[in-house]
Symmetry: D3
Subunit: 132 residues, 6 copies
């Protein structure tokens, strides 16, 4: 199913979303998922990224801002850091990422939002340390 | 608190988000909330809309697409229809709204997403009936 | 297990919480649960009410205000109306019940809280109609 | 992705789970999903049913009992009725379905479980009416 | 909005709830929130504490017991420890706090409740160590 | 309530489910729960295990596969590892446990399922280390 869709436009390879979002972590993330369960890794790659993300009227930045908000709704699991980085990799500014997290305050309440901002701080602090 | 922020830019009145999102339903929605609890209505107006929505680096369309996704995460309560309409009022195309709902599939699973698409269908059908 | 606890104070029968909370609806509610599943009905009566509610350092009013908040966290299922009535039956004022629902705003966000206030309004309106 | 897997055993067509679960409702359900969003319908058919359900070490009855429990965790959306029927179609007895719903009591609490048993009663009552 | 309310009764300053709940941790908590996001910190202080908590028919002890139960519903994030301490600071006994956590058993199931009691134990153990 | 039920069939002692699921960890787990709150420990033992688990038309393996899925729905708290082990102790193969976790993908989305598979990997790795 994904093949025919993805190959229609050769200038937009079917794995673009996945490559931009994961960035330099691409191979490490896929290996970790592969280590959890090969079928799970295949579903995440083939279905979530190369099908759902690719077949979308939304640009990747908006998709990733939505992904961040949805991960906050789930209690900010580790995937949130992958997608905070993904949103930034897709062109969102830090202030736009903060805007996505802040939308969680009226819809989900403060504790969920605070956990989201903590994940962001921990990502930004790690970036700072690397540069420093 | 909101006053100083909102008044800095006189070209952007503090209630812009609320007026665009609610559109022609503005007074009806506020009256309904007022009937539930006056303090609740005040918090939604003053804090959620005139503070959180206004003080954001995100444009209103992106905010509303995120709101739709977050409402799907809560099981698509009636507010979802308000914000599906809000996203369209803020300039999102139907395909972009579908894109926001589809992001819920990989993050929240199918049942939550199906309920979101049902709310969209019910909104679009009602629009069709009005026009027809 | 519940027997020894409940019988220690003969002035406080083991079914007090259940009788106060359900009030005039007591038999109707138990019959409805019995119709769903006899074992489920037994667990709700013997474990939830006659054990957990009875063995508590909290007074019944506080327990019911907490029950209302927890039911709002679950998306305000029909049980919420039973426990809004239960909180009032246990001596809470309408303003105190509103206080419990309002606590859901900072912790769970507005949509959950709005659904809670709608259940309260629907209960109060029904009371009004009966009296009227 | 699903093709190579599904075709390895020609005696087990790739749409078996879907046909058993949906039963006589098969075409009606797919049409309804198609009416919500064609891509959503395709994902549910190709990914959820013809891939995830088919590639499993679990028999269909166990899968459906798990599906019922997971749908109760989501607050018993309409899909629960489809999968209560699906569990029975796949060979579960009414008592086994009650067993799956009862497991939700210790893990999710009573309100979620009660909603699950209400969906079951409503399905069984409708069956009774048809027969009657 | 909060100003007029808070200033009506000069004997009850607008930051009373916040000062009692946070206690000796007041400045540390606000600084940590400030470090996450200044607007988030402002919303928690001005809206959650100095508005919602202050404008309530419930006494602070009851509010904090409800807050503890709601935080258990969210999976016992770190904020739970702040509000277990807050409930005790507001005059709840340890047995009353246990009563609030135990209410989560029938409404949310055992795993959520166990996580709540673990947060309480970890708070009480830390207190013991300090005294010791 | 549980006494009369459990003692009816002397060949099936009332604590069978609990002893199989907890296995060699039985006393350690009960002591830990006892240390959290004696009434909580009693409810888990008497109600959850010796009543709900025992009075079931489902075999223990199916009950534990359902328990694993429900714990994934709650965000994979530490209890998940107890019940992954419990499912294996009750006769499930590793592939059947993977099947139960994979059912969470279509119903709950990927992040919840990934956390479930991480708990499984961490359990299997610990087993490997012990043997090694």
């Amino acid at each position: 199913m994904t093949d025919t869709e993805g190959h229609m436009d050769p200038s937009r390879p079917q794995d673009r979303a996945r490559r931009v979002i994961f960035g330099s972590q691409h191979d490490r993330i896929l290996e970790r998922l592969q280590g959890l369960d090969p079928a799970l890794a295949a579903h995440i790659q083939d279905f979530a990224y190369d099908t759902v993300y690719e077949q979308s009227a939304l640009d990747l930045k908006t998709q990733e801002l939505i992904a961040c908000a949805l991960l906050v709704s789930l209690g900010s699991p580790p995937e949130l850091r992958t997608h905070l980085r993904g949103a930034l990799n897709a062109g969102a500014t830090e202030q736009e990422v903060r805007g996505a997290l802040m939308m969680c305050v009226p819809y989900l309440g403060f504790p969920r939002a605070v956990a989201g901002f903590e994940a962001l701080k921990s990502h930004l602090d790690a970036q700072e340390t690397k540069k420093g």
